[in-house]
């Protein structure tokens, strides 16, 4: 299917590129990571891993869905050894498709059972808490202070001033929706009922989770419902008008995972990476890369900036059940809530 001329052209191109790229020809001894975190976080993680173990490591930054799609499409010849960062539901989906190699790291023993896969397909490395990202200036204009509860969020003064992601397309959006299921003792109708009350206040259902933080930062909305670390990251960018607050009723959270990719070229190195990623010292690295999520390792020290977060009241978030109900519940949300006109 490739003509001779074309192949000639390809070979020529390869030769052209060889000069540019030979210095970085693929190494097999190292570990290649599909990294779902922030660029800087990924960079810090890989370099510290190499420093700690002497194993060279390299990463490609990918959002969870992209990582999953790429791991799946290349399953016959995996290019990644480890997948690190990004919400656990993506890992659950990957495990269901047998894309992950189960590995029970000795370091996983200390981690809470609800924060890891019972079969060892993935293990939690951080916890991100759902929070309110308040724009204090906009709120002050409405004579309001940072929002403290889900109830307060439905205040009519906040009409068209809340940003939240659509649960179909965003893990953040779905976490928010499922939090209300948990808050209502598993009653989905009640959860949707809350969303219906919130609906008039929602400017739009964003496609991606973190954009709500950006909208809050620029004052497009007064409050964004995002993971705390997303809001903090934008705050760190210079948007000092932002203030993170947590709902007093309790809030949902995501668990970030790490896993060995099935058929990894360097599975020994991959396991070493997972071992390392679960250590307290690895999990304490987050804040140095301005990532403020909670560690899963109970022995990891929690810095000042994370103290509030660690005290937040969290709902009992059942990752497995949430994942199982996702398609049906998101579809209900789409039809019953998102498409309803805003009175």
């Amino acid at each position: 299917m490739v003509s001779r001329a074309k192949r000639g052209a390809l070979i020529l191109t390869v030769m052209l590129l060889a000069g540019a790229c030979d210095a970085k020809a693929g190494d097999t001894a190292g570990v290649t990571i599909a990294c779902g975190g922030q660029e800087q976080w990924c960079s810090v993680m890989t370099s510290h891993f190499t420093k700690a173990t002497g194993i060279p490591a390299d990463f490609v930054r990918l959002s969870s869905g992209e990582a999953l799609a790429r791991i799946k499409a290349g399953r016959n010849k995996p290019e990644f050894d480890v997948w690190h960062g990004g919400p656990a539901d993506a890992y659950v989906a990957a495990a269901a498709q047998k894309l992950l190699a189960p590995y029970r790291s000795p370091n996983a023993a200390e981690i809470k059972p609800e924060w890891k896969d019972p079969a060892g397909a993935w293990t939690g490395v951080y916890v991100g808490v759902l929070a309110f990202c308040n724009n204090t200036e906009v709120l002050a204009g409405k004579r309001m202070t940072p929002i403290r509860s889900w109830r307060e969020l439905t205040d009519p003064r906040l009409r068209s001033n809340v940003a939240i992601a659509h649960p179909t397309t965003s893990g953040t959006g779905y976490t928010a929706l499922w939090s209300h299921v948990e808050l209502n003792g598993g009653a989905k109708d009640a959860a949707l009922g809350y969303m219906r009350r919130l609906h008039p206040n929602v400017l739009q259902y964003n496609k991606t989770g973190s954009s709500a933080a950006q909208q809050a930062a620029t004052g497009e909305v007064a409050v964004g419902i995002v993971f705390a670390h997303d809001c903090v990251a934008v705050h760190e960018e210079g948007y000092t008008n932002l203030h993170v607050s947590y709902p007093e009723e309790g809030t949902g959270y995501e668990v970030g995972g790490v896993a060995v990719v099935a058929g990894a070229r360097n599975s020994t190195g991959a396991r070493k990476y997972v071992d390392w990623a679960l250590t307290a010292e690895a999990q304490e690295l987050g804040p140095t890369a301005r990532v403020y999520s909670l560690p899963t390792n109970p022995r990891a020290r929690i810095g000042n900036k994370l103290r509030d977060m660690s005290k937040v009241k969290r709902v009992d978030y059942d990752i497995a059940e949430a994942g199982a109900e996702k398609i049906a519940l998101s579809r209900r949300f789409d039809i019953e809530i998102a498409r309803a006109p805003k009175q």
Binding site: S63, E66, R70, A73, K77, S170, K207, Q214, E220
Partner: protein
């Protein structure tokens, strides 16, 4: 136009045909088949029934078509406005206006949309800061604005060329039969441009409905198929749905494409022979000012958006903390990833651009001059590169080229995609660049070729030149300006394409746009803007370089002669 004689039998033509067919097959068709196989697998079939019965999905389809039509119309109208001002109005600053109209050729993903929100959103610097309104830009209106402004240069350049090629004597004839300016525009210029308007309209339509970055930023609740397909992958981990959405997305594209071909085939126009005479009469009456003002307003919006990108690269936090900082630039330029990304992207785009430009030209040449019935298929296959969402193409690449391709146990083609692949996976990136940027070159070249009378080439053939020699010695020099535009466009597109590329980046090859995507995705807008600024700078420098190498000038009147 009488059908040019076919010379399919010629060796050179056959080789050229083989080369481009192979390129299109390898770069586009085969990967797509891999994805679509999934979309057409038995397990996926019930989803179509679901699609046509689901009000949500049908609304998405309707949204997509409405968006495409609106962007096609607005983008073409803006292009027409700028071309009209450029060729028919006696106003100052036309050169500057021309440059501004070309600016959106360089549109890094997210940059324009993000800047639009920053300036014209609810708390926008302009809408809220100056006019005090909380304009809700999210949704169809914002999307149409951003997409029209991003994509209109292609229609501008096409129409500019056509308006310059119109025989001014025709307008003079109408004028001395008593027709006023407005009437001439309505009864002469518009109908004569109509066939020329169709091609850019189609391209705008296809690009608009396949675009995904902008709907993510300013789409609001307005959901379209392309971003839906992207989110099916990224949000729901469901590539099958993505493939289904993409397949459905292809329907309006293909439909419109076929309609256009039929319509154009029936409306072929030949400029009457005879030496064009007369000279262009620039409009000097007061009537030029409202038109000019409109163009200037649009130009100001464009400048404001790009200005925001530039400023955003040096401002700590746009709209909140306007203090200057070099931090973003430092991350983008001095960080290991950033430096590598700038170098890799430029190198790969530089390799891909001439291939794409030449391939586009060759396809155009084959389609216009040498192929009969098959022309439509080749033309369409080559256009597929923009007609499908990049996400889908990206997945197709991984499916198709991650593994070694073996025939009878012998490796014919080693894996191209991903880490450990040939040349660090950069071959696949080059291929994707070529395929994604080929259609733009194809369109400009087709337009240029259609304006060269076959007699010119026949004269060369008559003197004993083989088709390939004719192409190289006669055709190529004649359409050099179009080639220049095609190359510039290709380069700009390569440098700014993102959705396919995220599936192809490897630890060894970092690409600026994927850095932008992750920076923007995590709220580091300053860094994203810094990358965009760097990217635009590289593109601008390279356009200058292309101009030096190919000759002629992208910035002068020449490229209008398409």
């Amino acid at each position: 136009m009488t059908a040019p004689p076919r010379r399919r039998g010629d060796l050179g033509v056959r080789a050229a045909l083989l080369a481009v067919v192979a390129l299109v097959a390898v770069g586009c068709v085969y990967p797509l088949i891999n994805v679509l196989a999934e979309a057409l697998s038995p397990s996926a079939l019930p989803r179509y029934a679901e699609f046509v019965t689901s009000p949500v999905d049908l609304a998405i389809l309707r949204n997509t078509i409405v968006l495409g039509l609106l962007v096609g119309t607005c983008g073409t109208a803006i292009g027409l406005l700028f071309a009209f001002v450029q060729t028919r109005l006696a106003v100052p600053g036309k050169r500057v206006l021309h440059l501004i109209a070309l600016l959106p050729m360089i549109s890094p993903p997210f940059a324009v949309a993000t800047a639009t929100v920053a300036l014209y959103g609810r708390r926008g610097l302009v809408t809220y800061g100056i006019f005090g309104t909380e304009y809700d830009i999210y949704g169809l209106d914002g999307l149409v604005m951003v997409l029209s402004l991003s994509f209109f240069p292609v229609s501008y350049l096409g129409l500019l060329g056509m308006m310059r090629a119109l025989d001014p004597a025709m307008e003079e004839a109408a004028m001395n039969l008593g027709a006023g300016r407005r009437r001439i525009f309505r009864t002469l210029i518009l109908p004569l441009l109509a066939p020329g308007v169709v091609a850019p309209f189609l391209l705008l339509f296809i690009e608009a409905i396949a675009d995904l970055a902008n709907p993510l930023v300013v789409g609001g609740d307005y959901t379209v198929l392309a971003s839906r397909a992207y989110l099916a992958v990224t949000g729901e981990y469901d590539t099958t749905s993505a493939a289904i959405y993409s397949l459905i997305l292809l329907i309006p594209s293909i439909g419109l494409y076929l309609v256009q071909r039929r319509w154009l085939a029936r409306k072929t126009r030949i400029t009457i022979t005879g030496k064009p005479s007369g000279s262009v009469h620039l409009i000097r009456g007061w009537g030029r000012w409202p038109v000019f003002t409109l163009a200037v307003l649009i130009a100001l919006v464009i400048v404001s958006l790009y200005g925001t990108v530039l400023a955003g690269a040096f401002i700590r936090a746009f709209n909140v903390d306007f203090s200057l900082t070099l931090n973003h630039m430092r991350v983008a330029l001095l960080g290991a990833e950033g430096r590598e990304a700038v170098a890799d992207t430029t190198l790969l785009a530089a390799i891909a651009t001439p291939i794409a430009g030449l391939a586009g030209l060759t396809v155009a040449w084959l389609v216009v001059r040498h192929l009969g019935r098959a022309a439509g298929w080749l033309d369409f296959a080559a256009t597929l590169g923009v007609a499908v969402p990049g996400t889908v193409l990206g997945i197709g690449y991984v499916l198709a080229y991650r593994d070694d391709i073996e025939v009878a146990g012998v490796t014919v083609l080693p894996g191209l995609v991903g880490g450990g692949a040939l040349a660090g996976g950069s071959l696949a990136i080059i291929l994707a660049y070529v395929v994604r940027s080929l259609p733009a070159g194809l369109r400009t070249a087709t337009g240029a070729l259609a304006q060269i009378h076959p007699h010119v080439e026949e004269a060369s053939t008559d003197l004993g030149a083989r088709p390939l020699q004719t192409f190289r010695r006669v055709t190529l020099p004649l359409i050099r300006p179009a080639l220049l535009t095609g190359l510039s466009y290709s380069f700009a597109r390569c440098m700014t394409s993102v959705s396919t590329i995220v599936f192809l980046v490897t630890p060894d090859t970092k690409i600026i746009t994927s850095q932008i995507l992750s920076a923007a995705g995590q709220g580091h807008y300053g860094v994203a803007f810094a990358y965009c600024t760097l990217l635009s700078l590289v593109v601008l420098l390279s356009l200058g370089l292309i101009r030096l190498v190919v000759g002629g000038s992208i910035l002068t009147r020449q490229e209008g002669r398409l």
